[in-house]
Amino acid sequence: MATQADTRPALRFVSPTGSRELALLAAILVAGAYFTLASPYFLSVNNLVQTMRAGLELGIVSAGMTLVIIMGGIDVSVGGILAVSAIVIGKAYQAGLPVYIVSPLGLMAGTALGAVNGFVTTKLKVPPIIATLGSMYIFSAVMFLVIGGSWIAGLPATLSPLVNGWVGFVPAAAIVLFFVYGLMWIILRKLAFGNHIYAIGCDEQAARLVGINVDRTKIATYAMLGFLAGLAALLYVARMRNVEINIGTTIALEAIAATILGGTNIRGGVGSLLGTLLGVVFIRIMQNGLVLTGVSSLWETVIIGSLLIVVLTVDAVRNRNNPRAI
């Protein structure tokens, strides 16, 4: 029972107080300032645009991951979905199909695999971490079985402008990110569907009681993350013009890290897209800056890992009296 009145408005485009977003912004500025002083290359248009292009897939997948985690779920198989979608795209290109067939095929593959995850967690009642761990193994096995340890290379450059192009002074990659986050924000904050995602994350039983179709909402949300993983695969192929064997191996954990750093509660019910976007920016700037300053990239993972533990510990301590909160 609350002992004191708490009148903070629930501004859900940021986290309830906006403090996490501000803290991340400060961290990004501090890290950026340090890297600018430490390396002459960091604060150049070329470097920053390249960093954004390289982080495009992570940014897109993290937006979907935010919705899934707010809903109280998790998906560790997005890397596998991305990989399988990329193979579908690569094979379709190799079969000589035109881009307007190839692109929907890739997106459909991702959506279908995401929906399978949703189906297994809701209808078969497997906890999401186990269900998606299982599907991650299956998806990577599928990838090896299909491409047998070699790359799919020399794919056409028809979609490359989506990543590498410019619209006036604005990099196309930034426009893609803007559209994805804008769309996800509308779904999360402007439609009833988004309210249902928050409600399921808060209290699934309560959501069921008021007549929300919990299973359908969950499957749709996992499918949406799958769709975004398919889109990320499309942009990956556009950027690299090949499909490597190690595609997507780190993206699931990075997306979860960016989401949690951005203030989304790992137990669901609370979270913001802006926080996630800042989390992605922070992770990518750390990776880029440390490489430029000659520090082993291993340190980047140590830093991100430590920050995650700090963030989760602080949240846990702050809410230790509330069993439902983390």
């Binding site: 609350a2 009145a5 009148t7 629930a10 309560a206 008021v210 019910g269 909160a325």
Partner: protein, 250 residues
């Protein structure tokens, strides 16, 4: 008659939890349901609210025979149960909670956008009708007191067009001032012509707000009394079975 149950039997294995129970609530009536622990109150309200299907007997809501396979179906027929846990989403605002699953939408280009303005306005009106005071309708429900949450849960039931509102121990674990508030909510519901089933262990609360009292004992509804024509002592006697002892002695 708003709500009527006839000959309800519910068995769990060899145990008969409800033994041909008849139970009815009039329009605009507050019916208290009392009984000792294990008397069958919980099983009976679970049967009313769709959580249990009865083995025998019929349920009528506003003259129509109904069968509930889930709490949602009971909600849809206008029976809202407000459990002690309240089933509110703590980390959502008052407005979001009241309209959860019943959002008002304003389509734009065919997309059903949420109409937050209308929902806020209607929330303000609902809370005013019940005289519920909250710090802000944009605050998280989690941050509110037990009485305020009861008020929000009732407002949500009203927003869902509930005609029969079942309240399970609404005043348990509340401070004195909050108890007064919740009892005033119940009176406000009666004034709006809604029917209320009040489950309570607090005989004082029962006598303050109820019109009639149903007493349960050993899985049976042993009697229904008009509140004005009985007194707490008689009701406590019925609950504990003292009247049986007296009858046996005489």
């Amino acid at each position: 008659m708003m709500f009527k149950m006839t000959g309800i039997v519910k068995r769990f294995g060899g145990l008969t939890a409800l033994d041909t129970v008849d139970f009815a609530v009039e329009h605009g009536e507050v019916m208290a349901l009392v009984g000792d622990n294990g008397a069958g109150k919980s099983t009976l309200i679970k049967t009313m609210s769709g959580a249990h299907a009865p083995d025998e007997g019929t349920i009528e809501m506003m003259g129509k025979t109904v069968q509930f396979r889930s709490p949602q179906e009971a909600w849809e027929s206008g029976i809202a149960t407000i459990y002690q846990e309240l089933a509110l989403a703590g980390k959502m605002t008052v407005v979001d909670n009241i309209f959860l699953g019943r959002e008002i939408k304003k389509p734009f280009l065919g997309i059903p956008f949420l109409d937050r303005q209308s929902m806020r306005a209607k929330t303000g009106k609902l809370l005013k009708e019940l005289d519920v005071h909250v710090p802000s309708i944009d605050s998280w429900v989690e941050s509110m007191s037990g009485g305020q949450r009861q008020g929000i849960a009732i407002a949500r039931a009203l927003n869902m067009d509930a005609n029969l509102i079942i309240m399970d121990e609404p005043t348990a674990a509340l401070a004195v001032a909050e108890v007064r508030k919740v009892l005033s909510f119940i009176k406000a519901l009666r004034e709006q012509g809604k029917s209320v089933v009040l489950i309570s262990h607090n005989i004082q609360d029962v006598f303050e707000v109820s019109d009639r009292i149903s007493v349960m004992r050993h899985g049976r509804c042993i009697t229904v009394r008009e509140t004005a024509k009985t007194d707490p002592q008689e009701i406590i006697g019925l609950i504990t079975g003292a009247h049986e002892v007296r009858a046996a002695a005489s």
